[in-house]
């Protein structure tokens, strides 16, 4: 066997020029960001996009005062992580040291008039504060991590409040304080069709409790389509299916560009979560001569080895990419 190495200069040069351009743009943005941050640091004003609600003319009364009336919350709170920090001895900021009033605001006016709903910060659909203000309370502590891109995200612009999914006082899960026993049930309240797809014959282990919606999606906001956690759909899949990352000697272009060109991640009636079954799936892109263009749909054609079992993939097993010198057809 012998080989020659040829470089596609035109395509690579074009890519190189564009890469230089984007390096410059990224550098310019970084400079702009640093400059903005420096200028903002000189401004004593607060810069929050939306401020938490404030209660005028109110003073802090202390968590013990709250618990005199709200003793039913005490045991659950003291056992929770929120309680350990807000009601325990590990608070590290002035806000955390306020205990119950870190979230519900200073309670002196609430003590004077329990019926005045504007005298205390409440959460939920019955709260007089809009969702964006309620969320601002939570974001005082939880703005980093997975909430970095919350503002402007799909859920935020639809006025979904934090307490629509989370409950500090009545959580049904230890992790993330969810309102439902599982993420599938919680997300399925609005995304019922996607939740129903988990009960397809071919599925990821979501309904068995071994995977969660948040394993793939960052529900708090992401700069990738469909709130995917990673930089692309494919990079998301590679976290568990790193064998498909390659790179390979022989690439299969639609595979490299987008896994969901062929697969349906939420569940499918077809094996291996395929959108439709081969050979039809493959024939949407392949009509080359001879067997790729065969109908396989004649009377008798159903008993063909290219229709039964794994169909095209019985021969083209390395369909995601091949590292074999003779793997141009993904059969090796």
């Amino acid at each position: 066997m012998s080989f020659t190495v040829v470089r596609n200069r035109l395509a690579r040069n074009t890519m190189r020029v564009q890469r230089c351009l984007w390096v410059r743009l990224v550098g310019l943005f970084s400079l702009l960001l640093v400059s903005t941050l420096w200028q903002c640091s000189l401004d004593p004003r607060r810069h929050e996009a939306v401020s938490p609600p404030t209660i005028a003319d109110a003073a802090y009364v202390g968590s013990q005062t709250c618990l005199e009336c709200h003793a039913d919350h005490q045991q659950n709170m003291e056992a929770s992580l929120h309680g350990k920090i807000l009601l325990g001895s590990v608070a590290r900021t002035d806000l955390q040291r306020q205990g119950c009033e870190a979230c519900h605001g200073p309670g002196s006016r609430h003590m004077e008039d329990y019926s005045d709903r504007s005298a205390i910060i409440t959460f939920g659909s019955g709260s007089p504060q809009p969702a964006v203000s309620q969320n601002a309370v939570c974001l005082q502590c939880h703005v980093k991590g997975r909430r970095l891109f919350w503002q402007g995200s799909a859920h935020e612009i639809r006025d979904v409040s934090c307490v629509a999914c989370h409950s500090v006082h009545n959580a049904q899960t230890r992790h993330a304080n969810l309102r439902a026993p599982s993420q599938l049930q919680l997300c399925g309240q609005c995304h019922a069709i996607k939740a129903a797809m988990a009960f397809n014959w071919a599925h990821m282990p979501i309904r068995e409790g071994k995977m969660q919606c948040a394993d793939c999606h960052n529900v708090h906001g992401s700069l990738t389509e469909s709130l995917i956690q990673e930089n692309s759909v494919n990079e998301n899949c590679y976290r568990c299916h790193a064998d498909r990352r390659g790179p390979f000697l022989h690439e299969h272009p639609p595979v490299r560009e987008n896994c969901i060109a062929c697969h349906v991640a939420h569940g499918s009636n077809n094996p291996r979560l395929l959108r439709i079954r081969p050979p039809r799936l493959c024939q949407q892109c392949h009509n080359e001569s001879r067997h790729p263009s065969t109908a396989f749909g004649l009377p008798g054609g159903l008993a063909d080895r290219r229709m039964l079992g794994r169909s095209c993939l019985s021969c083209h097993t390395n369909i995601h990419g091949s590292n074999h010198p003779s793997g141009f057809a993904f059969t090796r």
Partner: protein, 764 residues
């Protein structure tokens, strides 16, 4: 239980089930007679005396019991991701210790700890300052039960036929063209069946994770983590001998993979800006580099191969480094927030090439590179701006640039061979594809009144590709949405978008010699001109406190308006409804229905030879369609407050795939294609659970699960390992390659299972 074992009722199971029924009766009797107020506090028992003597705080739950399985469960679909075999169980264990000041903690435990789908965890640290996490998760994946194969696994990915190729003599079976005589088919099938022996199909995925999270200051978070995922077992692997058209064999290829991932993150957050830096390294290791398998015909001209062996490469080891930074800042104008993310990844793979030929006489020297030096660099830059110039208007702008740059050298191999060392030594060059994708989007939301918000938006997406038919494409997307909240207890949301994608000025060109005969009108759907329309409506309401319901409808249509051959159109639509009724605080009912429908239409043309052409009269249409209907109803009752909880849930799922065909296909056999038999599956699930608190600390739990599954799939039903006599929809095959093929058909057989779990929990 080893993967592939059959589950059969034994006298032991009968005794256990009797005991289970007895316990259920005890619970019911106690519930009826023993109701009433629990002694002591309704919520939270006082600490037991033994805890007070400890120098630290201790709490937790310990739950132990057993599970039983009854019925016909010999289907891989039932066990796919679960371990429900009868055995003692520890469904839940959690122990948490804290120092007397409540600042430091240690928590450990697990779920289903005796099962192959169990998990374990450990957390330790100081609240709000430092935390160490460890987790171990087990996940089985059963692919096939009670499968058989003709191959013996010699280890190292080598599969041999005991005793050599199949008997070549009888009725001129494998060595001569088998033709279509019944005698020849029977001889082949007999040869195959005589070699069949059991094999397992499935693998276990075990993942261990460790992480450290440290907050030196409230604003700064440092994390480091490592995970190791191991997959071991077998999976079906298909091999073909000869040029396209050779017989297919399947065997249970070994799966021995590990994914190591390690990373570090530093995040700094103030009240108006946040910065995050991250590094992740991911290493994929495959313990199996290649598989080899004996040709069922041996070596020689029959079955068209020279070596008597097939060989294929497995997934190569690979490595990825990812550097990323992200940040957000709230600017002092118009409640504006700026976010951005930049990421650069290096993907590398340099596995030594698998030798092209299995014959020493044809193992040519490499004459140069022995590995691909495959390299991809991936750049992502993404920025977003959200602003509220006035309180009722929100403006959003986003830009995203994603560039996958493939720097793998191009190789031209002048002696490519098909498995079995067949083929005339073809010349093929590699195509290191690259692509870049840019998205610009902007939208404006206007809260017109307290009840009505309207939103419009526009997005532009551009793709640039190398080595593909469409070098460039642009898509323009217009979006609109309307949110209506007529009252505080109802919300309705309507969204619509229309998109048009067109190929760039360079048009759509053929890039590969193998596709030269393909009509210029043939377009691949991921690049083709297309319009896309999406519609979605969602309604959620709680008109009265005890009742809430939601409705959802969605529809999407893609029309590939310049595609004559290939995918021409696809449609997806669905609707769902859910209702929850809580007549009393202690009783709630819920139910729902969801329907999902995906259909498409594609046109193909049969091309009989490598030089073409397509005969336009041999044009056929395929109309795949997938439907899913799901019903579910259930109830939850607090039968006795703080004592007895009951829940019951039933779900019915009906899935089917239809493949309509029409036109004139030409090709082998010629004639008009006919619709294929529907592929259907029906799934019933009943789940009941009871939780009875005997005392404030002791709880009895019972879970009952009934599942019934039926499937009809012509691609696997009635398919035996030997395809010599396979009969599908009343027809058989006359192809020599079909008759010589040997598969491991994965039937998803029907099952009906009764699962029960009993446990006793102690909380302290």
């Amino acid at each position: 239980m080893a993967i592939g074992e059959w589950h059969v009722m034994t006298p032991h199971h009968h005794r256990v089930n009797t005991l289970a029924v007895a316990m259920a009766g005890i619970i019911a009797f106690t519930a009826l007679c023993g109701g009433g107020q629990v002694r002591g506090e309704e919520i939270g028992p006082p600490p037991p005396h033994w805890k007070e003597s400890l120098p630290f705080r201790l709490e937790g739950e310990v739950e132990a019991g057993f599970q039983t399985l009854n019925g016909n469960t010999g289907s891989p679909t039932f066990f796919e991701y679960r371990d429900l075999a009868g055995k003692p169980t520890i469904p839940n264990l959690r122990l948490k210790a804290e120092d007397s000041s409540g600042t430091r903690f240690l928590e450990l435990g697990g779920r289903n700890m005796t099962r192959t789908d169990g998990s374990f965890f450990l957390h330790a640290g100081q609240y709000n300052a430092l935390q160490f996490d460890f987790g171990y998760d087990r996940l089985p994946h059963i692919i096939g039960l009670n499968r058989t194969t003709i191959y013996s696994d010699q280890g190292g990915g080598k599969f041999v036929l005991p005793g050599g190729p199949l008997d070549p003599v009888t009725e001129g079976s494998f060595t001569a063209d088998p033709g279509t005589t019944v005698g020849q088919r029977n001889a082949i099938a007999s040869s195959v069946n005589s070699l069949l022996h059991p094999t397992s199909l499935g693998f276990q995925t075990d993942t261990a994770r460790m992480g450290l999270r440290y907050l030196p200051t409230p604003d700064l978070t440092l994390t480091a983590n490592y995970s190791r995922k191991e997959k071991s077992g077998t999976r079906p692997f298909g091999g073909v001998i000869g040029t396209p058209g050779g017989p297919v064999v399947e065997f249970a290829a070994p799966l021995d993979e590990r994914i190591h991932e390690m990373g570090a993150t530093a995040e700094y957050a103030k009240d108006w800006y946040q910065l995050r830096m991250n590094y992740t390294a991911s290493l994929f290791e495959n313990g199996v580099n290649q598989v080899e398998w004996d040709n069922v015909c041996g070596n020689g001209a029959p079955c068209g191969n020279l070596s008597g062996f097939g060989r294929a490469a497995m997934m190569p080891n690979n490595l990825a480094h990812t550097f990323s930074g992200a940040g957000g800042a709230s600017l002092p104008w118009w409640y504006t927030r700026l976010t951005g993310s930049v990421s650069y990844a290096l993907w590398r793979q340099d596995q030594t090439f698998t030798p092209v030929s299995t014959l020493s006489t044809r193992n040519f020297s490499d004459g140069g590179a022995t590995s691909p030096k495959a390299a991809m660099d991936v750049l992502l830059a993404s920025f977003g701006l959200t602003s509220r110039p006035i309180s009722s208007v929100t403006l959003t702008a986003r830009y995203r640039y994603y560039h996958l740059d493939n720097n793998t050298p191009i190789y031209t191999f002048t002696n490519s061979l098909f498995p079995g060392d067949t083929g005339a030594g073809q010349t093929h060059s590699t195509t290191p594809i690259s692509f870049r994708k840019q998205n610009v989007s902007t939208d404006a939301a206007w809260r017109m009144t307290n009840h009505l918000t309207a939103k419009i938006g526009y997005e532009w997406e551009r793709w640039g590709r190398s080595f593909r038919e469409a070098a460039e494409s642009d898509e323009h997307i217009g979006k609109a949405a309307l949110d209506y909240r007529p009252t505080g207890w109802a919300v309705s949301r309507l969204t619509f978008s229309h998109a048009v994608r067109t190929i760039g000025a360079d048009g759509y060109v053929q890039v590969s010699p193998i596709t030269a005969v393909v009509l210029p009108q043939f377009r691949k759907f991921d690049q083709a001109d297309r319009t896309r329309d999406k519609f979605e409506w969602f309604l959620h309401a709680t008109p009265l406190d005890p009742i809430s319901f939601s409705l959802q409808i969605y529809a999407q249509q893609d029309h590939f308006f310049n595609t004559s051959y290939g995918l021409q159109q696809s449609r997806a639509y669905g609707y769902s409804g859910d209702v929850t009724w809580t007549p009393f605080d202690r009783l709630s009912f819920f139910g729902g229905y969801a329907h999902d429908d995906y259909q498409s239409r594609q046109q193909n043309c049969y091309i009989p030879s490598a030089s073409g052409p397509c005969d336009p009269t041999n044009t056929y249409f395929s109309r795949p369609r997938d439907l899913l209907d799901t019903w579910h109803v259930g109830m939850h009752a607090i039968a006795i407050p703080h004592r007895l909880d009951l829940s019951l849930d039933y779900r019915y799922t009906f899935g089917r795939s239809k493949y309509g065909m029409s036109g004139t296909s030409g090709g082998p056999g010629a004639g008009d294609p006919v619709p294929m038999p529907d592929i259907k599956n029906v799934f019933h699930v009943v789940q009941a659970s009871a939780r009875y608190r005997v005392t404030l600390r002791w709880t009895l739990k019972m879970v009952y699960l009934y599942e019934r599954y039926r499937e009809s799939d012509f691609t696997v039903d009635n398919v035996t390992p030997s395809l010599a006599n396979v009969l599908v929809d009343g027809f058989t095959t006359a192809s020599a390659s079909d008759v010589r093929s040997v598969l491991i058909p994965i039937q998803h057989g029907a099952y009906e299972a009764h699962f029960m779990g009993f446990s006793v929990a102690y909380q302290f």
